[in-house]
Subunit: 180 residues, 6 copies
Amino acid sequence: MFRRALFVGRFQPFHKGHLYAVQHILKEAEELIIVIGSAEKSHELDNPFTAGERMEMIRRALRSAGIDPSRYLLVPVPDVQAHTTWVSQVVAYTPHFDVVYTNQALTRRLFLESGYEVREIPLYRREEYSATEIRRRILEGEDWRGLVPKEVWDFIRGIKGDERVRDLARTDKAEGALGG
Amino acid sequence: MFRRALFVGRFQPFHKGHLYAVQHILKEAEELIIVIGSAEKSHELDNPFTAGERMEMIRRALRSAGIDPSRYLLVPVPDVQAHTTWVSQVVAYTPHFDVVYTNQALTRRLFLESGYEVREIPLYRREEYSATEIRRRILEGEDWRGLVPKEVWDFIRGIKGDERVRDLARTDKAEGALGG
Amino acid sequence: MFRRALFVGRFQPFHKGHLYAVQHILKEAEELIIVIGSAEKSHELDNPFTAGERMEMIRRALRSAGIDPSRYLLVPVPDVQAHTTWVSQVVAYTPHFDVVYTNQALTRRLFLESGYEVREIPLYRREEYSATEIRRRILEGEDWRGLVPKEVWDFIRGIKGDERVRDLARTDKAEGALGG
Amino acid sequence: MFRRALFVGRFQPFHKGHLYAVQHILKEAEELIIVIGSAEKSHELDNPFTAGERMEMIRRALRSAGIDPSRYLLVPVPDVQAHTTWVSQVVAYTPHFDVVYTNQALTRRLFLESGYEVREIPLYRREEYSATEIRRRILEGEDWRGLVPKEVWDFIRGIKGDERVRDLARTDKAEGALGG
Amino acid sequence: MFRRALFVGRFQPFHKGHLYAVQHILKEAEELIIVIGSAEKSHELDNPFTAGERMEMIRRALRSAGIDPSRYLLVPVPDVQAHTTWVSQVVAYTPHFDVVYTNQALTRRLFLESGYEVREIPLYRREEYSATEIRRRILEGEDWRGLVPKEVWDFIRGIKGDERVRDLARTDKAEGALGG
Amino acid sequence: MFRRALFVGRFQPFHKGHLYAVQHILKEAEELIIVIGSAEKSHELDNPFTAGERMEMIRRALRSAGIDPSRYLLVPVPDVQAHTTWVSQVVAYTPHFDVVYTNQALTRRLFLESGYEVREIPLYRREEYSATEIRRRILEGEDWRGLVPKEVWDFIRGIKGDERVRDLARTDKAEGALGG
């Protein structure tokens, strides 16, 4: 059993695949640091939610899933200009950790090059449980309710986050109008 | 009648649609702050002109249209890293204003969320009066003379701005050559 | 009773005055967001500890003081270039909050100007319970043990944080040597 | 007679010495670009006012002094990281100019090295007409009314700018308290 | 004969076309400054190698080609936010130079506008000797050995740079997975 | 014997102590990477010279001292926002190295924490051979000729670098004048 694991994501939004990953890691580590990456970004089509909103949705989902709040930490980490300094940025923003869980090739490579143990996360229905797929469904008015924990659905609807995603898409298309 | 209105654009370049918008707003507000957005950008295919060049073309066009120079202010505002801090950036760079005019969904949303009154601008021949369309015509050698005030046409031609746009496009295409 | 309060500090390091403040606020609010300000800074004489180290010391101190982990959130927030955009940066990094607790005149002013309710924290032995005083004592080899919770003392000693503070001071003085 | 002159300052705040400088330059140049430097800064002891507030006070003072609004332009320009790129930043943010007026040794040197003509401004009562002296008087509660145009005095009092300066000083001194 | 020439590239990676360019310029100039542009970038699909890695591969290739190390200088220069300040950034990072060699339209334009003499480089088999083409071949598993100097091939293979390029591509495609 | 050593300094300016250090390290390592730190800074009282000017003076001094140009590399490295990411910034900008030479406590600590071997440099007349002392003497018009290699003296005098230092000091003192 590891003392403390790290799990990095952008969580735009937090979905059921993320929740299963958290539950999986907490079987192998006493504590888990969940890094909310690209923390400075929001109100973009690929990054609609603020770090604070993502923190809120994750917290509600984990609470509802009965996960002990003393076993995980949420840490927003902004991007750095250069990929080579990103690992040291994560290290500076987080308490000490012993292992990194990721399925991303670049994240894996960067932590491995810095000497960390890196583990894969068993994927579960990855075609559907994908933030890209969820944002696409929101945008095109398709059903995305089943892909996220109920608390995330309620939260996003409560802040009219689905309207925001569609506004962001409209702005991109209308770039040639008066604002352009 | 509003005391002071805000109008945000990139003005790459300033065209007749922008001029009509200024004239429209000045019927509803005593003074107008024209924010030249993305002020730090230039020499890019989507942002060919510097903030200073855009200031010059707007000033000449408004003078020629007989608009009283005491009734408007031109304020270049650079972008910020995060959309959520952009409204406070605009507020810091400008004198006090009471209303925002915009047709952009994101600008509208951000100012509304910050508690400002936001108004739409009646569009006039928006297919043509579009900076994107003008840059496309410059690039492909089509006629764009009628889409901008005469002073803007003269100014851009005087600084060989049309050549610059075509150079910028060549650079993008030639990326694989020696510089790449 | 407030739903959720915000408390901003740099916590270089977290001391007993901070702990009393947290306990005071949790009597007036259901939940507390503790913002770890200047998160990007460390290894400076005024900012010796990383955001991750500060997070670790605060977490240990609050756990030892018996504070329910579901009632507070630790959020590192990096500085922004301009003071006027700082409030919106904090808002973007944190879940929704209803009230701000601070004794700092500038923090108070910035949140008040943005329309937030701001409350003072009753100070307790503020001459001693001061991060500046603690860093001074570490630097000059005086006793600082009683000024911080026991867990903070243990943690800083464990990472040789007191040696780091003295190294940082030596670097400043030796600026004229080879590195200069 | 020059076609267009440039005059750079931080205007924290705009005082009578600045006003005399503007009037002097407008005898030697048809138009004047007034660059509001360090535009991104505010709420600091040396930079209390936002670019927008400085723009407002300058505009009111020049209007009251009867200066034709078509003869000057106010342009806020943010700092750059490196002094060597600052001249090109100013050039990018402003319309074309032919001469630079400054009494600052560094500004003079940077523009001269870039090939610009640089002229001195005859100083008038420079011991008193100094932004540093005015901020000092505000801070210490001394009389500063006679050092700025009446409109600037009214504006700063109207936004409680003198209280802000004193708050900023308190924050610096109280650094060792809870926020520290 | 020029005293000192400047040659700007990203060298992702350094290929035979670059080597021929260096040899050509050294016939017309006593010394050559090779600027490694976008120095801060690496681990991106278009910028896979760090500035240090690029420096290493260029140095080995030039040594092997028998070029006198006292006749050239390698200078990594990071990007700036705005194109208009880029020339002054290059000037600040490099010793004095008399002429610029480039085939890029934008680089040519920016240096010409700043008053520098700019020369073209005779191209040699430019379809093949292209960094874009080499990265494409690495990505798709095609043969790229003949397009770079032998030392560059050995170096990139030695650091498993070809694997890195393919990892970077996988990350982009997998964006919708857990990390997304 | 080490394969390649790293030596970090700001070299404002490069003096005889730096030269002795280079000669010392080249007895213990085959090659030496000289990092020109704070590369983005210049025209400041503590950082008067650009990276390019520092590169020029070092190159001339090393050539005159008969040091083989194939045995050393000059690499300008700009500062990063956070000290914790600085080591990875240096690593990204430089070819591979095996050992770090420094007498600075912070540099030593940061490289040690990252797992590098760090060595001290035997100091030689360190009271005099100090960049701070040299800048002080330039400023106050005292003799500094003997503290730097002859080529550095000639170069600084040739670009009127001593005048620049005195101008920078005047600007700081005159801050209360019109520019202030």
